[in-house]
Subunit: 327 residues, 2 copies
């Protein structure tokens, strides 16, 4: 920057202003400076700028798995919003464990991000502590229930699962199974199970442990989960899967067995991933607006970064029951 200043015969502060607060510099001076910047191929050092201004342009996000498109969609939208404001995104794989999240947090905060997005609502005491000390905007996502650390953008897993289960009951299914990944590791799936159970109880039905299953994530798991449930109760008439991936695995298993869906057994999923509309038969599922979550989270973080307050600290993005042919 000194070189640029010398060549343009101005002070360094003028170079800085020409680049970042152009309206504060005379047009003529600005042009001369910018031309020099161009000529020298100068790229500002934001590290120095950040130290001086005590403001980085970095935000951080911790999600369970970057490679899972469910989170990928949110992160993608978030990164896009940030980029519009020339802000950057630091990414961390948090796994599904609050302990892992905690381990990521301090190194992240050492970089002085101006805001954090956390997927998941469970955090260790230590994590809460360092976040409080950092005193930066926080957006949590993943579930709507419970008081947020700061801001919250999500839908209610419980309500969504309740609505889908009620929908299945409405269609006349009575022996409805529920399959999720282990709820000990995934509190979103736990909430969905709670919603499922609440819907049954609201209809005077008691949830049957034999119809509830926890399996690993994956297409295969969905197929074998169906096997297991049928073996336990041959008369099961519908299965609600806490993930489309599991549900599609089950549909594929039905295709292999030449079972008619939904006549022999109805299947419902959760997420409305791309494959859901394309499976055979197309999958009845719960749609959650993942991009919207990322976009709104980004907008909230940007608002706070720019010194504005957000209208509401809690945003319910809702969900939709997507009725297709599998139930």
């Amino acid at each position: 920057m000194r070189d640029v200043a010398r060549r343009a015969r101005v002070s360094t502060i003028t170079v800085s202003r020409a680049l970042f607060q152009p309206e504060k510099v005379a047009a003529e001076t600005r042009r001369r400076v910018l031309r020099t910047v161009e000529a020298l191929g100068y790229v500002p050092n934001m590290v120095a700028g950040s130290l001086s201004s005590n403001r980085t342009r970095i935000f951080a996000a911790i999600v369970p798995h970057i490679s899972n498109p469910v989170y990928g969609r949110t992160i993608h939208a978030l990164a896009d919003v940030l980029r519009l404001h020339n802000l950057h995104l630091l990414l961390g794989n948090g796994g599904f464990s609050p302990a892992e999240e905690e381990r990521l947090l301090s190194p992240f905060l050492a970089l002085r991000p101006q805001g954090v997005l956390l997927h998941g609502r469970r955090h260790t005491a230590a994590a809460r502590q360092v976040l409080r000390q950092a005193a930066i905007p926080i957006v949590e996502t993943g579930d709507l229930d419970g008081a947020p650390l700061d801001m919250l953008v999500s839908y209610s897993n419980r309500q969504a699962a309740l609505a889908m289960t009620a929908h299945l009951l409405e269609l006349g299914y009575r022996r409805i199974g529920f399959v999720s990944t282990p709820i000990r590791e995934n509190d979103r799936h736990r909430r969905r199970r709670e919603g499922y159970e609440a819907a049954l109880r609201a209809r005077g039905l008691e949830p049957e442990p034999a119809r509830i299953l926890e399996v690993p994530f994956g297409f295969q798991s969905g197929g074998s989960a169906l096997d297991t449930l049928i073996a336990r109760d041959a008369k099961i008439d519908a299965v609600f899967f806490a993930s489309d991936i599991l549900a599609v695995g089950a549909l594929l298993e039905c295709l292999r067995r030449r079972w008619r869906v939904p006549d022999r057994i109805a299947v419902a999923g959760f997420d409305d991933q791309e494959i859901a509309a394309e499976s055979l038969p197309p999958l009845t599922t719960v749609r959650v607006p993942r991009e919207t979550i990322g976009r709104i989270a980004g907008e909230m973080l940007v608002s706070r970064f720019e010194g504005r307050a957000v209208e509401s600290r809690i945003v319910d993005v809702g969900f939709q029951i997507i009725t297709r042919q599998s139930a």
Copy 2:
């Protein structure tokens, strides 16, 4: 840090050393300092550290779509390797366009990342320029052909597609179609098409324009691509799709039409995504070790960061033809 130093009755530099070069501090002193750090909930300011040492702990990656699991898997592995060394990953959505990549690059470099991963081999002249000036390690991924800017970790799209096409020819298919996304926007798909054409020519067959198609990305596209190809040439006996997603879309279309695969028509894909093993019938495809690419790229970047040279600047991670029942 000053507060910590005072409370522990040492100088700031001792605090710094206790945190980052523990072996240089007496065990007793170290313990005292670390206890104080804990007590005060002190989180070091890496921004200041970076400025002083002229070294950040940040790396950057620009990939076409974060939400596409194909890139997600690579990024995930990369982030994991970096994290082992307490290094961080900055992420950008580059789209499929070199121009977009260029626009992302300067703001990224302003943050002084110590290395960059770029997916894709096409870069604008300006992008090459700023990268050269930045003088940091660069890993390109996406395709093996052509001279890299610096380091390169990939497989050959051309060779992989050639091998798959040769495999189909070997199986006796002669009227083989090829479907990709628009090759103008996606040079990986262009390379795959080149490989397809080369394999045909090697067998004395001239590629038929009528059997080659460019379509948007998505399951739907795969299905309608199949329609189109059949309409153009009812005797087509196999279709090689440049992506599993397209291929699975085609398989679903076959299921709907009750066409037997591969008897009526054979289908092959590319990527070996999770769905490939689970489709009906399971999909013959090309497996590319996405995690390995991310891991090796990460290891190369870390090596260079730590001042070691890499053994080889170009790493061919290879590919595998996965033979399942669709061809």
